[in-house]
């Protein structure tokens, strides 16, 4: 092909484009830079917030775990997040700030709970036998059929948010998955002053 022909084949938009065309990308760069800073300095998952960190880490919000502990009659018991609070728990996971976690804990503290069973599962084997071990909490929110005598209002609620951490083993292709505590907030009912604490060791 002659040089002239090749020149004609080149992009015919050699005229200048109005600089305004760069505005969307400038907004993108600004938002993405802010997201990177925020994700490195807070509990924001890299998957969210417009920085394009999806598929870069196992620490996706959907893999984060929210754990709830009630203090009832002087003893602390773990409970599964009630179905009614699934949405709030899901909204906590991407960026569990102390304030959001505390608000979530306070909502749980305001609920009335019932102990459905006398005993907790004693082993992993026992929980494996249950159809849905993750939601089979022994303390559940009060329902219309529950015995009013068994209803309790917790003295305190502790909410913890954990993120997954995966370490491949050097040989064999296996890997170890563990949870790393991102945040822990306790809200007490006595004087409604939260005894909140952010986990310093993990973040």
């Amino acid at each position: 092909m002659s040089p002239e022909g090749e020149q004609q084949e080149e992009d015919d938009d050699s005229e200048s484009t109005p600089p305004i065309a760069a505005v969307p990308v400038l907004v993108l760069v600004l938002v993405a830079c802010v997201q990177i800073v925020v994700a490195h300095n807070t509990a924001l998952t890299p998957w969210k917030g417009g920085g394009f960190g999806m598929f870069s880490t196992v620490d996706a919000d959907t893999r984060r775990v929210v754990q709830v502990y009630l203090t009832v009659d002087g003893r602390e018991v773990p409970v599964a997040v009630p179905d009614e609070f699934d949405v709030q728990a899901a909204s906590l996971r991407p960026m569990p700030t102390e304030r959001r976690t505390e608000r979530f804990a306070r909502r749980l503290l305001e609920q009335r709970w019932v102990e459905l069973r006398e005993h907790r599962p004693e082993s992993l084997e026992e929980i494996e036998d249950l159809a849905e071990p993750a939601v089979d909490a022994h303390w559940v929110l009060e329902g219309p059929l529950h015995d009013a005598q068994a209803v309790r209002t917790p003295q305190a609620v502790r909410v913890e948010v954990w993120r997954p951490k995966f370490t491949p083993r050097d040989e064999g292709g296996d890997g170890v998955l563990e949870l790393d505590r991102l945040q822990s907030v306790t809200v007490a009912a006595d004087h409604f002053e939260d005894a909140s604490e952010e986990s310093g060791e993990d973040r």
């Binding site: 992009d11 065309a21 990308v25 993108l28 993405a32 394009f52 409970v79 992993l124 491949p168 998955l177």
Partner: protein
């Protein structure tokens, strides 16, 4: 006979000249309606604008319509930005690019749209590759290793090519359940072992570096300045071939259809200046994405 073939070819040639601006507008309205995660408070006006844009052709290229849609989408995003996936942000950037382009007429409009879309694709890919490179989870291969052992679609890859028994991903998922729900038992678990094979580790390394390389390549091609030869037709071809290859390979395993759709709009927008076969190719990809969505359902 030959004349009939020529006529058929000639009619196919017209596909190269599909109206990019109108198509981008239409696809974006559909994108907003189908895949945008909109805060319910302002969902109604957004849907009204999008439906009106689809029903009334004159509105499709009206800058005021796009100004309103951009503002509403941005407001919805700002409402709960930390919950939003990256492609939800991209929808707003696309609306903004269309708003700016529709301020102009003729060639200037095509140029503003093409350059706006080109820079957006380049920047998105640059940030995606950057995040991966600066995250230890990714650069050590741990991320894809983990996904190959537990992810619904990616574990198929591990089963087919990595010698992983089909039961293993199910067992791994059960182990994860024990880890996350174990605190409800008297014997909480601190860690679990996810079973894999040596081949899975190799596949993880290959997928890890392939992904970051293709993203970096797309970023380089789309951000290549015109004054340094970025306007050459071979660069143009390379851009679209790389982007289409990325979409075809990525969305089979990670069917994030909203992101794929957004990339189609951006890729199509990049073709605004010159007639090209990539215009119909992007429309075919939309159909494939929809088909893939129904298959994975």
């Amino acid at each position: 006979m030959i004349d009939a073939i020529r006529r058929r070819i000639s009619s196919l040639e017209r596909l190269r000249e599909l109206p990019v601006e109108a198509l981008c507008a239409m696809l974006t309205f559909l994108l907003v309606l189908l895949w945008a995660n909109i805060t319910w408070v302002i969902a109604f006006p957004i849907y009204v604008v999008a439906v009106a844009g689809i029903l009334f052709p004159k509105l499709r290229t009206g800058p005021r319509v796009w100004c309103v849609l951009t503002a509403l989408m941005a407001l919805s995003l700002a409402w709960d930005w930390h919950h939003q996936d990256n492609h939800q942000f991209v929808y707003v950037y696309i609306c903004l690019a269309l708003f700016l382009a529709f301020h102009f007429e003729g060639k200037q409009r095509s140029r503003v749209l093409a350059d706006g879309c080109r820079l957006l694709v380049g920047a998105m890919m640059a940030f995606a590759a950057g995040w991966k490179l600066m995250t230890a989870d990714y650069s050590t291969g741990a991320f894809f290793h983990h996904e190959l052992l537990v992810h619904e679609s990616l574990s198929d890859l591990a089963v087919i090519f990595g010698g992983l028994s089909p039961e293993v991903p199910v067992e791994n998922a059960a182990n994860i359940e024990l880890l996350t729900a174990g605190y409800l038992t008297a014997e909480p678990v601190e860690s679990v072992v996810l079973e894999g094979t040596g081949e899975v580790a190799v596949i993880a390394a290959v997928v890890t570096w392939w992904t970051v390389l293709i993203e970096a390549l797309i970023a380089a091609l789309f951000l290549w300045p015109r004054r340094l030869g970025g306007g050459h037709r071979y660069v143009f071809y390379a851009r679209h071939v790389a982007l289409i290859a990325f979409m075809l390979m990525t969305y089979v395993f990670a069917p994030v259809i909203g992101f794929g759709w957004a990339l189609v709009v951006l890729g199509l927008g990049c073709c605004a200046v010159r007639p090209t076969w990539f215009r119909p190719a992007y429309l075919v990809i939309v159909v494939l994405l929809l088909a893939l969505r129904f298959i994975t359902w």
